[in-house]
């Protein structure tokens, strides 16, 4: 058992650190963000430029083989890079879906031609990708997909026409391509009859509308498809293989999700509680506040420790499994609980938004509200618990009334 790097890891870390120091500004304050003051287009351009630089240095896809644009590195090196990058001010989020899930899916299931065409430009930041699985009626029930893909022409032409609606598509408004799940056979049961496609987001018939969230942000989109023409060469995997491909993609996503749920909100709580005064004394002297801080630490650092155990499994060449569901469950709740505690610290004055109360309140206030979203995105608490109960503890699945029924016969809702 060793929390420290091996010699090889330490040397890679130094290498990365040196490269980052030469190419980006270090993060100083906890509230520092890349691109303050940049407009959307400028931020996007900066993100693409940064991605190109990473790709040139081999850091765009560390575990990928060099001939695919990677570094032929280990998953541990990938983690080390991410840890080090977090200490610098670089654009984030733009390529998260591209590199985290969409491209690995193309790499896994794509034809040689598809890989040739799409992987390199995306790694270099020339193209941005999104992923379109969820639909209004397909939230927790992922298979309830109603977007239809039909062959163009009765004789089964070489193109598909896609019609339907996707929701919660991150980055759809600036993405160039997306992977999209559609129903190609309505006579098969729910999770069969689904096929995955690569869609040009600029194609005619694609309309992207932002979703305004409870936080007033609009990170996500609805994507409406009206007879969007997709050549059969842009089919990803075989017909009816869509469900299997999606599950693989989501498994990819799960581990990368895990890393988002750590953090040091407890340090923010400590700083705020030292500053806030209750009855003339710092709130940090209150044992209930101390209990809340300790609880936040136990959950946030605990989540990091579970992720670290997952990394150890990766180091050994194993792949971390459904136990990452516990990370999501605990981590998202800790955001909501810890954020709410921070807001509470201020009493009535804690109800003043950070813009008028002080920037040190911004992150906790955001977490208080967005924590509610974090508990839903990527699978609700209930879905995580189902995953743990069924896949880890071996308990029976829910009684399903929709399993062996042709999709066209299922009750709609």
């Amino acid at each position: 058992m060793d929390f420290n790097d091996t010699a090889a890891e330490a040397s890679f870390r130094n290498e990365v650190r040196a490269w980052l120091a030469a190419n980006a500004a270090p993060r100083v304050g906890a509230e520092d963000k890349f691109g303050d003051g940049l407009d959307h287009a400028a931020y996007l351009a900066a993100a693409k430029e940064w991605q190109a630089r990473k790709a040139a240095a081999g850091y765009a896809a560390i575990p990928w083989p060099r001939e695919m644009g990677g570094l032929g590195g280990t998953p541990a090196q990938q983690i080390i890079y991410a840890q080090e990058e977090a200490r610098f001010l670089v654009p984030s989020l733009v390529f998260e879906v591209s590199l985290g899930t969409a491209l690995p899916t193309v790499a896994m299931w794509g034809t040689d031609e598809q890989k040739q065409r799409f992987l390199a430009p995306a790694l270099k930041g020339e193209d941005i990708w999104c992923q379109m699985f969820s639909e209004p009626a397909a939230g927790s029930d992922l298979g309830n997909v109603r977007t239809r893909a039909v062959r163009d022409g009765d004789d089964g032409g070489d193109d598909w026409l896609l019609t339907g609606q996707k929701v919660w598509t991150s980055g759809a408004h600036f993405a160039d391509y997306g992977i999209v799940l559609a129903r190609t056979d309505w006579d098969k049961p729910k999770s069969k009859g689904l096929t995955m496609f690569i869609m040009d987001m600029k194609a005619p018939g694609v309309e992207v509308r932002p979703i305004r969230q409870a936080t007033n942000d609009a990170h996500f989109n609805e994507v409406f498809m009206n007879e969007v023409r997709i050549p059969d060469t842009m089919r990803l995997g075989a017909e009816d293989q869509g469900w299997k491909i999606m599950i693989g993609t989501l498994m990819q996503e799960r581990f990368s999700l895990g890393e988002q749920f750590g953090g040091d909100l407890y340090n923010r709580l400590i700083a705020l509680a030292k500053q806030v005064r209750w009855g003339g004394r710092p709130a940090i002297q209150n044992d209930n506040v101390r209990a809340g801080i300790v609880d936040c630490y136990l959950r946030q650092f605990g989540v990091e420790l579970i992720v670290k155990r997952g990394m150890s499994a990766i180091s050994r060449g194993e792949s971390p499994g459904p136990e990452m569901a516990a990370v999501k469950l605990v981590g998202a709740r800790a955001f909501q609980t810890g954020g709410a505690l921070a807001v509470e610290l201020g009493g009535a004055e804690g109800l003043i938004a950070a813009q008028d109360l002080g920037q040190q309140w911004a992150l906790p206030q955001t977490l208080w509200l967005s924590g509610a979203g974090a508990r839903i995105a990527g699978g609700t608490d209930q879905i995580q618990k189902n995953t743990i109960a069924e896949r880890i503890l071996g308990l029976p699945g829910e009684i399903r009334t929709d399993r062996n029924v042709p999709f066209r016969d299922l009750e709609s809702g």
């Binding site: 409870a214 005064r277 709410a340 009535a348 109800l351 829910e398 399903r400 009750e411």
Partner: protein, 363 residues
């Protein structure tokens, strides 16, 4: 023993509820949310018209001369309707402070205007003393007040402010000399906040001494009334989630048939019932002037805060992704639940107040 409201009271509640269903719509609340108004004046005027604002005020000063039990039920409906109106600031706090502290002339000057909705009051008399911002404690120099107040509810729209300075209760006309104010963005924009600075501002003295005790009594009353708002809001969020769960289909059946959803809703119901019990007890103590008021008020506030927080958070969660969109009202509950939980002191302050009462310690 009859631990429930009577039929006349229930009829009044029904009437208020019907009116609010018509007027305090999601669209009306969202006008305030989006910053297009300081409050929902349409609903406010309707409440005035029904006599709801003055229900607990004496008839000779424009009130209905009924009582605080009736006001509790009106609060419950306002909470249920997410009404964006200054009930706390103008009625529970300032009108009550005036009723209990002011002389007849002062009451005659202000209560009719507050009861009719022509004027709006606010108050800074809660004792929580929790500060995230540097302020300046209220200092009274004869009839002039110097103070900086933060997070004053409805502070931008209010005409008068009741403040506690030492042991004196005073009334400041906010359009008057020496007063400057600026909006402070609220985490629940439907319940706005302001910073009010008084620089030797002229005041009317409501009570030169004994003000702290009255302030305490008014704050306890506000805690009970807010508890009713919280119970109303919590119940609304609970039943919205229940209705959604009955309609939303996943895996071929309504999600309300999944035990995890059912049991979450059952926990929410249970929290609301517990809160309702304490709220009723608080109402009784408030209306009868029982010595149990401090403990009953604190318990009502704590149980109601727990219930509304739970129902708002878990109600949103049960809606899934759509619950986190701006279009749905779930986040209005999340914001309102937080606002109500903290506006006259957060749960830690009220918990300590209740602990002292139970243990039998002095503050």
């Amino acid at each position: 023993m009859n631990f429930d409201f009577d039929e006349d009271q229930r009829r009044l509640q029904e009437e208020v509820r019907r009116m609010l269903t018509t007027h305090s719509t999601s669209a009306a609340v969202r006008r305030v949310l989006e910053g297009a108004a300081t409050h929902d004046d349409g609903t406010w005027q309707q409440l005035a018209k029904l006599g709801a604002l003055g229900v607990a005020l004496p008839e000779r000063h424009g009130g209905a001369g009924m009582g605080l039990l009736e006001l509790c039920l009106i609060a419950e409906e306002a909470g249920r309707a997410l009404a964006a109106v200054p009930l706390l600031s103008s009625i529970y706090m300032s009108a009550e402070a005036l009723r209990l502290a002011a002389d007849d002339a002062q009451q005659g000057e202000w209560l009719p205007r507050l009861a009719s909705g022509q004027a709006i009051g606010t108050a800074m008399i809660a004792q929580d003393d929790q500060h995230a911002l540097p302020g300046a404690p209220a200092k009274l120099d004869g009839t002039h007040l110097t103070a900086i107040f933060n997070a004053v509810p409805d502070g931008m729209v209010a005409d008068v402010l009741v403040a506690l300075a030492g042991d004196a209760l005073v009334l400041v006309e906010l359009a008057g000399k020496g007063v400057t104010r600026s909006a402070q963005t609220s985490l629940d924009p439907t319940r706005p906040l302001a910073r009010i600075a008084c620089d030797t501002a002229p005041v009317a003295v409501l009570a030169a001494s004994g003000g702290a005790a009255i302030a305490e009594r008014v704050t306890d009353g506000a805690a009970v009334l807010l508890a009713f708002e919280q119970v109303g809001g919590a119940e609304r969020a609970l039943y919205a989630a229940r209705d959604f769960a009955r309609e939303r289909i996943a895996f071929g059946r309504p999600i309300g048939g999944f035990q995890a959803v059912k049991h979450q809703l059952a926990e929410m119901y249970t929290a609301v019932e517990l809160a309702r019990g304490h709220a009723y007890y608080g109402a009784w103590a408030l209306a009868t002037g029982a010595p149990e008021l401090p403990r009953a008020a604190a318990a009502a506030r704590l149980a109601a805060t727990e219930a509304y927080t739970l129902c708002a958070e878990e109600g949103l969660h049960l809606h899934g992704g759509i619950g986190f969109t701006s279009d749905m009202d779930c986040h209005l509950h999340l914001r309102r639940a937080r606002w109500l939980a903290q506006i006259i002191g957060n749960r830690f302050w009220w918990q300590e107040r209740l602990a002292r009462e139970l243990i039998g310690e002095d503050a």
